[in-house]
């Protein structure tokens, strides 16, 4: 089973440490979300996987073997900063990147046509890329990253700058690649999209891994849960405030109900006992135990939320 493994990978630029110590494993066929705030080391990590820069320490392997030029030919990359040859036509551009990854004529042209169809670019096939809208240029860039049917695709902020319709087109394409067995690594700040498409996640900050696993695993390992109680009555608030393990949450409520009382509590807390005490104290119209969202886990793991 092919998989990507990073073991204690580190990289500094002069005095600045970009990646301190990162270890992670991406099983073959997985759609993997790499999360972290700006400067966390995501882009440096992706560049090291692609061999653009060499790690100072640690080991990166694909299928238990070091990644050499031949292996990299089977990788695809969509960098955060988009770049296309402005004067090159859409079809030629996509086919060119196919050839760069070892495709021969006419397969490069056929693959370019396929991806233009998938992404709704047929009408622009003969136009120079510089004449396309930003959204369409990003779709061309996406096609360039996947035209050679890579085994692993690394996408840095694939949805940035896309309108909802074009973001859906990319999401659909990603699902298609996933269904075809392609391993995908995504980095994005758009949590709802990454939560929808990724099966596994890795949250990094300060150049180290802070959390990792499936969303269920992340939730299971998360020490806090939240409850929402309605109505927002003082008698109920007094009961909750009196419980030593509970703390009024600083997070916004998941359903955005302003009238609810929102409290954080340990994951192992007896929720039924809390509900019984509340009911004994007064009228309760709604009581909900809320699982942490990826956004919450990310924000608190990286220190972006208190």
């Amino acid at each position: 089973m092919r998989s990507l493994t990073l073991s204690h990978v580190a990289r500094s630029f002069g005095e600045a440490v970009a990646v301190r110590d990162i270890s992670l494993s991406v099983p073959a066929g997985t759609t993997f979300g790499l999360l972290g705030p700006n400067g966390a080391g995501k882009t440096t990590t992706m560049r090291m996987i692609l061999g653009i820069i060499a790690p100072d320490g640690g080991r990166i392997t694909w299928n238990d073997a070091p990644i050499d030029a031949a292996v990299r030919m089977r990788f695809g990359y969509l960098p955060e900063e988009r770049g296309l040859y402005g004067k090159l036509r859409v079809r030629e551009q996509i086919a060119y990147f196919g050839r760069l990854h070892g495709m021969r004529r006419p397969h490069d042209e056929e693959a370019a046509r396929h991806w233009m169809g998938e992404l709704g670019l047929e009408a622009y096939a003969r136009l120079p890329c510089g004449e396309l809208s930003k959204g369409n240029q990003q779709k061309v860039q996406f096609a360039c990253a996947v035209v050679h049917a890579p085994e692993l695709v690394i996408l840095d902020e694939p949805f940035s700058g896309l309108d909802p319709a074009n973001a859906d087109v990319i999401l659909h394409a990603l699902r298609g690649l996933h269904a075809g067995g392609t391993t995908l690594i995504l980095s994005t700040h758009q949590m709802w999209q990454i939560q929808e498409v990724c099966e596994q996640f890795c949250i990094i900050a300060g150049g180290t891994v802070r959390a990792g696993g499936t969303l269920d695993e992340l939730r299971a390992a998360w020490p806090l849960r939240r409850i929402e109680v309605e109505p927002n009555a003082s008698v109920l608030r007094d009961v909750l405030d009196a419980m030593p393990d509970l703390r009024a949450s600083t997070m916004r409520t998941g359903n955005g109900v302003p009238s609810a009382l929102v409290y954080d509590l340990p994951a192992e807390a007896d929720v039924a006992a809390i509900l019984r005490q509340l009911v004994a104290a007064g009228s309760v119209t709604r009581f909900e135990r809320i699982e942490p969202t990826l956004q919450e886990i990310y924000a608190r793991t990286t220190g972006a939320a208190p």
């Binding site: 500094s12 630029f13 002069g14 560049r47 692609l50 061999g51 653009i52 820069i53 030029a69 990299r72 030919m73 990788f75 990359y77 960098p79 900063e81 988009r82 770049g83 296309l84 040859y85 402005g86 004067k87 090159l88 060119y96 990147f97 050839r99 760069l100 990854h101 070892g102 021969r104 360039c144």
Partner: protein, 407 residues
């Protein structure tokens, strides 16, 4: 096709279609044609001669016409003038350049010249009239005196390299031509290769490319494509030069003699010299190409191209200037040293080869040193290119580049 081949093919196509290449090639070809043909079209006289109107006694003007025939074409002889000649007068008389009024004085011949361009009136005129001056003073026939006054001088090359003066002059011309061709080719190529690298850097394509291909291979493909387009450009210019010379001969058959001289001079260029020309051209081209590509990889904005191109331009200009001295003083020890120094040698060594007898070991040493330097520059440029492509923001200092290369 391997990736170097893919990038070479794409680069080559892009360059052949690029405006700097097309404009440079066309302008170069047009310049060559114009500089070759226009003098003939405008003057209508053999190259190196000037149209003059001679005024004076018919006997005098006839003698003078014969004496100055090698340098001047006498378009008209007049016995006298009614007024001081003006530019309109010159235009009206076969568009002559000068009016020369000849008269006898007590101590000999006098000549007053009304020139359209006094600065270009040559001193050869007075020397040519020497025999006539003596003839007038002594009463002897000019034909007899001419042999006594003008001493036949035969110049031989001490090194036995050139058969005559015109052959040596032609060799100097070839050396100058080489210097100019290399200089122009390097400067045009610099613009093309820097624009290409800057486009990929500023549009962030570079990151995509280096994720696919080793930066050194990318640099190699670019330099090869740049060299191929450069050679094509050179070939176009040479073809236009040959075409121009044929047009000149067709327009002015009297130039054929000059063409024959040129052909004779061309024969003096040996196959070994042509090989040396090619070798030093390619080596020089490669040395500068990799350095310009590396320099361009450091910029984030195209506005910074001038700042990084400046330092590389210094050796180009130095090589150009030293090569001109090399044509005049090919045996000077400093020139000999410069003909071994990388970046300068491609300019200087060929100049020396074209006009003097350079020991074979010096040529071999220069080729070896400069080939090694081209490889070393390529490796150095590859490292700069590798880090430069990923450096964004302000133009990095030399220290920052060195740190990044070490990192």
């Amino acid at each position: 096709m391997n990736r170097i081949g893919v990038i070479f093919a794409a680069e080559f196509r892009r360059r052949m279609r690029s405006r700097p290449f097309l404009i440079g090639t066309v302008l170069g070809a047009v310049s060559i044609m114009l500089t070759t043909i226009l003098p003939i079209v405008f003057s209508g006289v053999p190259e190196g001669t000037t149209r003059v109107v001679l005024v004076g006694e018919p006997v005098l003007t006839a003698e003078v016409k014969a004496l100055i025939a090698d340098d001047y074409t006498t378009v008209e002889r007049l016995p006298r003038l009614d007024a001081i000649p003006t530019v309109e007068f010159l235009k009206a008389h076969h568009d002559a350049a000068d009016v020369i009024i000849l008269s006898r004085a007590r101590d000999g011949l006098r000549a007053r010249v009304y020139a359209r361009d006094p600065s270009s009136f040559g001193s050869a005129f007075a020397r040519r009239l020497g025999p006539l001056q003596v003839a007038l003073a002594t009463g002897l026939p000019v034909g007899d005196i001419k042999h006594h006054v003008i001493v036949p001088v035969s110049v031989r090359d001490a090194a036995g390299r050139f058969a005559n003066v015109s052959s040596a002059k032609a060799a100097k011309g070839v050396a100058f031509l080489f210097i100019i061709l290399l200089y122009v080719a390097i400067l045009i190529n610099a613009q093309v290769i820097m624009s290409s690298v800057a486009e990929e850097k500023t549009s962030r394509i570079a990151e995509l490319l280096v994720a696919t291909i080793d930066p050194a291979q990318l640099l190699t493909a670019k330099v090869l494509a740049s060299g191929a387009t450069g050679l094509i450009q050179l070939l176009v210019w040479v073809l236009f030069g040959a075409l121009s010379s044929q047009i000149v001969i067709a327009l002015a058959p009297h130039v054929e003699a000059i063409a024959h001289n040129s052909a004779a001079s061309a024969i003096s260029i040996s196959p070994a010299e042509i090989a040396a020309f090619f070798a030093f051209f390619v080596i020089g081209y490669a040395q500068y190409s990799v350095l310009y590509a590396a320099a361009a990889s450091l910029i984030t904005r195209t506005e910074d191209l001038g700042a990084v191109a400046g330092p590389v331009l210094i050796p180009v200009l130095t090589g150009f200037i030293v090569a001109e001295f090399a044509v005049a003083y090919p045996e000077n020890p400093w020139i000999a040293v410069c003909s071994q120094v990388p970046l300068l040698a491609p300019f200087v060594m060929f100049s020396r080869i074209a006009i003097s007898s350079v020991p074979a070991w010096q040529i071999a040493a220069s080729l070896a040193i400069n080939l090694a330097a081209a490889v070393a520059f390529g490796l150095l440029a590859g490292r700069i290119y590798r880090v430069g492509l990923l450096l964004y923001g302000r133009l990095p200092s030399l220290r920052q580049v060195v740190i990044a290369m070490r990192g």
